[in-house]
């Protein structure tokens, strides 16, 4: 089912998705700090409490562990909660609930229970918010069996990944990159749930596979445009689903391009970038012309000063330079 595309923003696409969920499924509630009157830290849920009432769009006190746990309990009890944690930085306070309860309940009960819960949170740096507000910890969540982890990078995915997540009987972590809310994009208003088992090839190319997700997809696309002018034809893969990973799409692409660059906004060491590099190497060892190149954030708590922050995070120029070195010099 498709219709004429309409222009919107990532933020509004996300809001439309939530609105539709509230309108079409009584079991859906939205829970989180300042989701009601304030409209959500990033204004995603703005106005929804007026439409659906404060019981369904429900403010919580500052108590991440408490309200995430309450969301898990509510899911067990038959609701389909969409829990908003303002940012991934504060999700550390709720990690016990997510890892030790949401992710384990099904297995340790021998399959009796399931936890149909969506936890939304923003991620990423780039806005001079400094060390305690700039984490990119998607890789941690992607490590945990029992969870699914998705990260829409486009307005269209922001619109149509939530239905997928809500239809999933498991806890789904949905990462929204804080720099994307204002991004414009066209969406199909009567599209349908995104198939999150498939990574999206955002640009086809033959010389190198650039693998990214969330905010880095846009930098990878910009780098690919620059590279095209320089005679390098880059393929850009938007993972979209971080757990499970679509290893087949990655392997198929790299088998063609023989070169892979992973771009991760998180820290290098033991980040999701390492998994992708290892996975590709396992699948494409004999067809790779050079080791997978990993671009990630510098190993530093993200500093406030703009010039330092910029240098801490992979930028378009860094991607261009890394691809050139890889494709031309094999390193």
């Amino acid at each position: 089912m498709t219709g004429p595309e309409v222009e919107t923003t990532y933020r509004e696409a996300m809001r439309d998705a939530i609105r539709e969920a509230l309108a079409t499924d009584d079991r859906v509630i939205v829970l989180g700090e300042d989701v009601a009157d304030y409209g959500g830290t990033y204004a995603v849920t703005k106005g929804l409490h007026e439409e659906f009432g404060r019981d369904r769009v429900r403010n919580t006190p500052l108590s991440e562990s408490g309200f995430v746990g309450a969301g898990i309990g509510a899911a067990l009890g038959g609701l389909r909660p969409i829990v908003e944690i303002m940012t991934v930085n504060f999700s550390l306070l709720a990690l016990d609930q997510i890892v030790n309860t949401a992710a384990t309940l099904r297995h340790m009960s021998g399959g009796q229970f399931h936890v149909p819960l969506v936890i939304r949170m923003t991620t990423g740096a780039g806005r001079q918010l400094a060390a305690q507000h700039s984490h990119s910890l998607e890789g941690w969540y992607a490590h945990v069996p029992g969870l699914k982890v998705i990260a829409p990078a486009t307005a269209s995915d922001a619109r149509w990944m939530l239905p997928t997540a809500l239809a999933d009987p498991n806890p789904v972590i949905l990462f929204e990159h804080n720099a994307l809310y204002g991004e414009h994009g066209s969406i199909d208003p009567v599209g349908g749930p995104v198939d999150i088992t498939q990574a999206a090839i955002r640009r086809s190319g033959n010389d190198v596979s650039i693998i990214a997700w969330a905010g880095m997809v846009h930098k990878a696309m910009a780098a690919a445009a620059v590279l095209a002018d320089q005679g390098v034809d880059a393929e850009v893969i938007d993972l979209r689903s971080l757990r499970p990973l679509d290893a087949d799409t990655l392997a198929e692409s790299v088998a063609r391009t023989h070169h892979a660059v992973v771009v991760d906004e998180g820290w290098l060491t033991a980040g999701l970038n390492a998994e992708i590099a290892a996975l590709i190497t396992e699948r494409c060892f004999w067809t790779l012309d050079a080791p997978v190149r990993r671009l990630a954030s510098a190993e530093v708590p993200i500093p406030y000063a703009q010039h330092l922050e910029e240098h801490a995070i992979p930028q378009v120029d860094d991607i261009v330079a890394a691809v050139n070195r890889l494709v031309r010099d094999g390193v």
Binding site: D55, A74, L105, G111
Partner: protein, 332 residues
């Protein structure tokens, strides 16, 4: 010595209460033996001495109420309605266990009777109870969610966050603190700056009181009262049950931190023994009746052990089952 008083409790209910305390006692003592025999492994936490709490509370509930407990939950699971066979097989790690052998002693679960574990992160299940209460409130069920936890859990941030949420949202949740005075080897006095635990609930404007947890009749009465306040729309209630565990924290604990005299003093108030004695004294039961209850409990547990011992293991090929659910599984 506990001064039992019948008050409103029907005489026939006394037999049921005693029966269930005895069932827990027998189950737990058998567990200890089976642990020594290496039939049960992992961590094992026994409820011996605290039977009046789970028993009194469970008897005051509706069968449709939801229950959450800690890793010291065999008794709660049994009284919620999980057959001893399911519990024992679980501890044996068998596929007939109530969690398919994947949970063990600390993770008994049963969807059918609404028994939500068996939770082994101290304090971690309190927010779950809040969520279950919220789901019931939204759905308009008049079920109550009952959450058991130790006094040690009250120092965790989750306790605070959960009580605040439950009170703010006026949820049908009964918080049952099993104050056995120790969290592993840490006494209440070194765990809480304010040892009057019911006072803590006042910080959330939650009605709260403290009850003799060795007196099964008082426990049942207090729970009934709390439950009717809750179903009447009064929001959450907190009860502190003052009790004591007669055994060490777990099978690994050499119990170095308690004065043996303290243990003995509490044993004089053994909830099973004193209640049985009183029931006989009051001519509610005869000595033979009581013996029959012990015999029946022993038979029940013995049958469970035999069944568990014969039960199959989950095939290794099923290792990755139940990590995530499929839509088909949950809609069937």
């Amino acid at each position: 010595m506990t001064g039992y008083e019948l008050k409103g409790i029907p005489a026939e209910a006394c037999r049921d209460l005693l029966r269930d305390m005895i069932r827990i006692r027998v189950l737990e003592e058998r567990c200890a033996e089976l642990y020594a025999a290496s039939k049960i492994r992992g961590f094992l936490h026994l409820y011996i001495g605290e039977e009046a709490v789970a028993t009194g509370v469970m008897h005051a509930l509706d069968s449709d109420d939801s229950v959450l407990a800690t890793y010291r939950e065999h008794g709660h699971a049994l009284l919620k309605g999980i057959p001893a066979t399911g519990i024992m097989a679980e501890m044996f790690g068998r596929s007939t266990g109530c969690s398919g052998g994947r949970g063990g002693s600390m993770h008994l679960f049963d969807a059918a009777t609404r028994f939500y574990g068996g939770n082994a992160i101290v304090g971690g299940h309190l927010p779950l109870a809040v969520g279950l209460g919220l789901a019931d409130q939204v759905a308009g069920n008049d079920r109550v969610t009952v959450c058991f936890f130790g006094e040690g859990a009250m120092a965790e941030g989750e306790f605070h966050e959960a009580l605040n949420l439950a009170a703010l949202w006026n949820l049908p949740v009964l918080f049952c603190c099993e104050n056995n005075r120790y969290a592993m080897g840490t006494s209440l006095e070194t765990s809480e700056s304010q040892v009057d635990l019911a006072l803590k609930a006042a910080a959330y404007a939650i009605p709260a009181w403290s009850v003799d947890g060795m007196d099964v009749l008082e426990v049942a009465r207090a729970t009934k009262r709390a439950r009717s306040m809750i179903t009447g729309g009064g929001g959450p209630v907190f009860i502190e049950f003052q009790t004591y565990r007669f055994r060490a924290h777990s099978m690994f604990d050499p119990d170095l931190y308690r004065d043996p005299a303290e243990i003995e003093t509490w044993k004089e108030r053994d909830p099973v023994v004193t209640f049985a004695g009183w029931a006989i004294e009051q001519s509610l039961l005869t000595g033979d009746d009581v013996e029959a209850l012990w015999d029946a409990a022993r038979d029940e547990v013995t049958a469970a052990v035999i069944a568990a011992d014969e039960a199959p293991l989950e095939p290794v090929s099923s290792l990755l089952d139940h990590v995530t659910a499929t839509t088909e599984e949950v809609s069937s």
